[in-house]
């Protein structure tokens, strides 16, 4: 693997003692990092470890408070993304930096300082695309492209500027396993033949082990370990990331370490709570049934004849790559979307989809994929968010009893271990993990019939992830029908009793947990349909 003579080459990038603070919060502290040309350098850390901030500093979106950046031995100051581009640093962003209304070639030009010329731009797009084997039509509107294609545009936009240093921030969250493979192959090309330096930022162990040459591990804003990937194992990396031995399957799953999960399972380590083995013939009542659901937007069926059933006490995992209808499914169960066809029933009662609060009335609790979007009100207090939909219970003659509200809130905060300065603290001031706990507390506190958890652990650190997973399992154990929607395969595998795969708005395959392997799921996610017995169709 290229990089054997790394010691003799000057580092492409050297970060020395970089520090960034946000008031009392330290995002990065005294970080030293070296990226060498001709190697893929992994930057590993759980969510909140500081790796994204570090990359934002490198790309000029954030200014460090302390420390120095040197490129090719020369010290530089990176004011903004344009300076970074001039210095040869390019980034492929996590949540894409494309403008949907513009065409591919216009997006590629965005942020450049070159002359604005359509034919030159188109030509360059085609050239770059051909060179790296990434087929794309420069005249198409980005809004029409799939997530995988959009990332391709991102890549072309970045590579066209001929960056000496390429940063990829969590690139595979929107890709199928097959597309991820493709991406890593392209990366190796770029690195080997053109001697560029690549930084791959990720929280997934498997990815780092698979695609990088060197690894820097960060934890709580500091660099805690550096090693060559060839010398590392999943458990050693996991231990460095989390700071302790990783013995729990839930944590391993959280770290995206499928091998580790398998290892632990083999070693007989059980999940943190008992899983009630589902009987062969399931006699538990069906609580949530979605029948032939159809939602059409702009002529495209985002939900297309979707059939789904969840029984009391079971966890059904909906796997799939982002952009295949997960958001609409979540919105549907949040009363935000009206069906164009089909129906949703809860305990036999048909819901009036799209009517405000109809799902909540029937006992459907939702932890939405983006809690800021429909799960909370940022400007209200913690107590108000906790009791958001239960205000009637503390209302008399139309007036809200604030004292009762605080009392109930304190109870919930205690039960769910929510860290905040008090029930009157602003919800927005809570950390991500605590915010998610508030949402969970509110939804579970209702004793719902159905609990929908969409991407419940996204953006959380390992401790919070463990907590959330335990809670979900406990909910199922208490008889709630749990629907887990997630793009993280490991999470699905870890928590679900039954797994369905969502592709283009419909369910294309169903597996029982016992039959599900990463490989089989990977195939399904790639779009290969299987019949109920698991055979290829």
């Amino acid at each position: 693997m290229a990089g054997a003579g790394a010691a003799a080459l000057a580092p492409a990038v050297r970060l020395t003692d970089v520090t960034k603070r946000y008031g009392p919060v330290v995002a990065c502290s005294g970080v030293d990092l070296e990226l060498l040309p001709g190697e893929v350098h992994g930057i590993l850390g759980e969510n909140g470890a500081g790796k994204s901030t570090l990359m934002k500093i490198l790309i000029g979106l954030v200014q460090p408070d302390d420390g120095a950046i040197a490129l090719g031995g020369r010290e530089v100051v990176i004011h903004d993304p344009q300076t970074a581009a001039q210095l040869g640093i390019g980034m492929v962003h996590q949540h894409l930096s494309l403008v949907e209304a513009l065409t591919v070639w216009e997006n590629v030009l965005l942020g450049d300082t070159s002359k604005f010329d359509r034919s030159t731009a188109r030509r360059q797009v085609m050239e770059t695309a051909d060179h790296y084997g990434l087929a794309i039509d420069p005249d198409r509107c980005v809004g029409e492209l799939s997530a995988g294609l959009r990332q391709r545009v991102e890549l072309i936009k970045c590579l066209r500027r001929d960056p000496k240093i390429l940063i990829l921030d969590e690139p595979t969250s929107v890709l199928t396993p097959a597309e991820s493979e493709q991406l890593f192959t392209t990366l190796r090309d770029v690195v080997a033949t053109e001697q560029r330096a690549v930084a791959l930022v990720s929280h997934k162990l498997a990815e780092i082990l698979h695609a990088t040459d060197n690894v820097t591990i960060m934890r709580q804003g500091r660099v805690v370990e550096r090693c060559r990937t060839s010398e590392a194992t999943a458990s050693s990396l996991a231990r460095a990331m989390v700071g302790r031995e990783v013995l729990l399957r839930a944590s391993a799953a959280a770290l995206g370490a499928t091998d580790l999960v398998d290892d632990l399972s083999d070693a007989g380590v059980s999940a943190t709570t008992d899983v009630i083995a589902a009987p062969i013939v399931d006699t538990r009542p069906v609580v949530l049934r979605i029948d032939g659901a159809r939602v059409v937007r702009d002529g495209v069926a985002v939900l297309d004849d979707l059939h789904l059933e969840v029984r009391a006490g079971e966890i059904v995992g909906v796997a799939g790559v982002e952009g295949n209808g997960q958001r609409e499914l979540g919105d549907l169960l949040s009363s935000l979307v009206t069906l164009d066809g089909g129906c949703v029933t809860v305990n036999g009662v048909t819901a009036r989809t799209g009517r405000a609060g109809s799902m909540a009335e029937l006992g459907v609790g939702v932890i939405p994929e983006d809690r800021h979007d429909s799960g909370c009100v940022l400007d209200l207090s913690v107590a108000e968010n906790l009791l958001l939909d239960r205000m009637e219970s503390i209302t008399r003659f139309g007036i809200v009893d604030r004292r009762a509200m605080r009392r109930r809130a304190i109870e919930l905060m205690r039960e769910f271990d929510i860290q905040a300065s008090g029930p009157d603290a602003m919800f927005a001031s809570l950390s991500g993990g605590n915010q998610q706990r508030v949402v969970l507390a509110r939804e579970l506190g209702q004793r719902p019939e159905v609990l929908v958890a969409a991407q419940p652990t996204r953006g959380l650190d390992v401790g919070a992830i463990e907590y959330m997973s335990n809670r979900l399992r406990a909910a199922a154990a208490s008889g709630i029908a749990v629907l887990l929607v997630s793009t993280e395969l490991e999470e699905i595998l870890e928590l679900s009793d039954r797994i369905v795969v969502l592709s283009r708005g419909r369910v294309i395959g169903e597996l029982d947990r016992r039959e599900a392997t990463s490989e089989r799921l990977g195939l399904l996610l790639g779009g290969v349909e299987t019949d109920p017995n698991g055979a290829h169709v």
């Binding site: 513009l102 216009e106 965005l110």
Partner: protein, 317 residues
């Protein structure tokens, strides 16, 4: 019933065959177009500026005063443009730098500039005469539309280069590309290294320049009205915004919208001349009622810049 229809078609025929109608309609349409084209650019950047009104009033008054003082039309027009830019500067910095709500700022600026113009007018009366129309021979003799299109006072013709210039600015320059990105997805634009609020401010200044020019042209080019009267502008700014919506945020559609609205403004003036008695209030409110209907029909268009009227503060997605 048949009598009503017959009467209506008679009116229709008379109106459509009156040269005065077309002339008047074009005049209103052109003035509207100056403001509408400017606001089109600003809305492409994602801003909604009800202070277009203030920019026009500022331009109108300043142009009138300058013309009264120096008796040179180009100088007066430049003064109008400057006034429009000054108002736009206030809107731009208050809303897209100090982050005060853009509707609040727009409303306050409208009231402020109107009051200021009224006050200054009472102290320094703006006296204007009228720019004579410039007839292009031959072409202006075309029946019906000849005078309307080719017999206008010369400042009106400034719209002819302005429209393609605006199109070129938005679609053929880097600045325009960045403006469009900022109006559709400011977060993505920001990450790509574009100064979101700076582009928005610049777009608003373009709107200010155009609207200021429109105000100047309004005052200098109105044949039948002598002198500057406050209230000339009369909410034409909001009509310009309606025209942009009518046009589905395309430039071509916006211009067509201006012509449509111009037509209705002209009705108020020409119907009495043609001998039709029409209730004064009904005639005066027609363009605004039409604007309401028009926005009702066309506002659901999906070509609206996705970030329209949404302020951008980095970090709060």
């Amino acid at each position: 019933m048949i009598a009503v229809v017959a009467a209506a078609t008679d009116v229709f025929r008379d109106v459509l065959s009156a040269e005065a109608m077309y002339e008047s309609a074009m005049r209103f349409a052109i003035v509207l177009a100056f403001a509408a084209v400017g606001e089109w650019v600003a809305e492409k950047a994602g801003t909604l500026n009800i202070s277009i009104e203030a920019m026009m009033i500022g331009g109108a008054y300043t142009a009138a005063v300058t013309w009264g003082a120096f008796d040179m039309v180009p100088v007066a027009l430049v003064a109008g443009v400057t006034a429009g830019i000054v108002v736009a500067l206030a809107q731009a910095h208050l809303s897209h730098q100090l982050t005060i709500d853009q509707f609040v700022v727009g409303l306050t600026l409208n009231l402020f500039v109107l009051g200021l113009a009224l006050f200054l007018d009472s102290r320094w009366k703006a006296v204007t005469s009228v720019v004579k129309p410039t007839r292009i021979p031959l072409l202006a003799d075309i029946p019906l539309v000849g005078n309307a299109l080719f017999g206008q006072p010369w400042p009106m013709y400034l719209i002819v280069p302005l429209v393609p210039a605006a199109w070129w600015l938005v679609f053929r320059t880097r600045w325009g590309l960045e403006v469009r990105s900022v109006g559709d997805n400011p977060q993505s634009a920001d990450v790509s290294g574009i100064h979101v609020n700076r582009r928005r401010r610049e777009a608003i200044m373009v709107a200010g320049a155009c609207s200021g020019l429109g105000g100047g042209v309004l005052v200098l080019g109105q044949i039948s009205i002598s002198g500057y009267e406050p209230g000339h502008v009369g909410l034409k700014g909001i009509i310009a915004i309606a025209a942009v919506i009518f046009g589905g945020w395309t430039l071509r559609g916006t211009v067509v919208g201006c012509i449509v609205f111009g037509y209705f403004f002209a009705l108020q003036q020409t119907l009495p001349v043609l001998g039709y008695r029409i209730n004064a209030q009904l005639a005066a409110s027609l363009p605004y009622v039409v604007a309401l209907l028009v926005t009702a029909v066309f506002a659901t268009r999906t070509r609206q810049p996705r970030a329209l009227a949404q302020p951008f503060v980095r970090g709060l997605a």
